[in-house]
Subunit: 265 residues, 2 copies
């Protein structure tokens, strides 16, 4: 874990705000621009990272140095760990109470051989319970960059992000910034962008709480289709506004000062 | 609890599929057509029912017979219990590990004085962990009707519902049926209904798993606006397709045979 330069936790109070989409797109983008990246899915009861990355049927292997991440391709620039890789039958639910989840998360933090990588992006389940307490406690031993909070413009989701901010403060986990997901929907019929839920919520919340607003990620049906089919969205749509948004998020980050020298461009 | 005729658990593998929207709309609709209804929110870390019902600032009171639900109006046809009513500061996160959540849920099941009501709708958080195990174990002592599974047409969500089906089977909780939420979005600019995620997923899943398909609930921006503002959607939009959908869900239910005689129409 200490060989990893940047450790980022992706949080949101509510489910369904696109936390896993943000985590996986961020990981894909960072590896796309040349970094070595790990993506850890600590959503034990509803993991969606493997499906989104097109790795659903993969299994994880154990070496003498620990679990070996599942890599997206031969370049081994992006490795993924999820409980789904450990399940025989992928439709089996993980009906676990807290203590069992906590020991699994401790193993994910301590026993995965990520190698020397630039970024570890950690995707979490919704809420502020066992998974979040455990992963944050473990992570705080290893000097993490902090948390990215994901929200939608809808007020119910925003009140949950306020709780997530209080959670970070209570746990003494730094907050990197807020990403507003699903900000507007471009109708493929009339190309008019409608704010299907509301608008500007994430930005207002960021200002109100004195937290950096990292930017907006619009709903793009192509992103959802690529996610479902496990296709690399950047290769398919090199000029997309999503790619531009991700570039702007990364430009907006205040990374901790350790240099990230392995990027090739 | 034994004075309640029908007990229904609303489940989904993923968050953000509109589980709380379905729960609250169902409760509102059942009380709208004359039943006495209780709505119990067991999402302890991200409760959204109070906000959706316009009851955000309310507090719960304790009588000699137990906790008194917060009623939506003077008719006392719809009572609500949520952890949010117990919190002093509504933005405080509930940073609880499993055991504390379990004892809270046991109190919600045993210590609330619902009175003689027709329906208890129980809204759950995403996943298959402590809250779900505890609430199901407690509920099974009181002969519940079973679970309604909520999904969106998106494949990632559907694979999570499969897990929820396995969860119900493992816990021996009957499944009432599947509701597909956010099925299509009517663009206010061109009125063309686009399946923003995918389509027909819930229906196919229901057929595949031999479970009743209760119907679809389209995205209606007015529903979201009413939810956020705590306005009664049925009074505002008496001819909406959402109201028609809810009527059709209820017509499609196979309720356990105990008669529900308090309905006035």
């Amino acid at each position: 874990m200490d060989k990893i330069k940047h450790k980022i936790l992706v949080l949101s109070g509510k489910g369904g705000v696109g936390k896993s989409t943000v985590s996986s797109q961020l990981a894909l983008y960072l590896s796309h621009i040349g970094y070595k990246v790990g993506l850890l899915d600590v959503d034990l009861c509803g993991p969606s990272i493997p499906k989104m990355m097109g790795l659903e049927s993969k299994d994880v292997h154990k070496s003498t140095k620990g679990w070996v991440p599942v890599y997206t391709d031969e370049s081994q620039k992006l490795g993924v760990i999820s409980i789904q890789f450990l399940l025989g039958d992928k439709d089996t639910p993980v009906i676990w109470r807290g203590p069992k989840k906590n020991s699994m998360i401790k193993q994910f933090i301590d026993d995965v051989n990520w190698g020397e990588i630039d970024f570890l992006i950690i995707d979490t389940p919704p809420g502020t319970s066992d998974e979040h307490i455990s992963v944050t406690e473990e992570l705080l031993k290893h000097n993490p960059d902090g948390a990215i909070l994901v929200t939608t413009p809808q007020a119910v989701s925003i009140s949950d992000v306020k709780k997530e901010i209080s959670f970070c403060n209570a746990m003494k986990l730094p907050i990197i910034g807020i990403i507003e997901n699903m900000s507007g929907y471009v109708c493929p019929h009339c190309s008019e962008c409608t704010n299907i839920f509301s608008s500007e919520g994430g930005k207002l919340l960021a200002e109100q709480c004195n937290i950096k607003f990292l930017g907006k990620l619009p709903i793009d049906p192509n992103l959802s289709i690529c996610s479902e089919r496990g296709i690399n969205y950047f290769t398919e749509y090199p000029n997309s506004s999503t790619l531009a948004s991700l570039k702007s998020f990364v430009d907006n980050f205040n990374f901790k000062s350790s240099t990230t020298t392995t990027a090739t461009n």
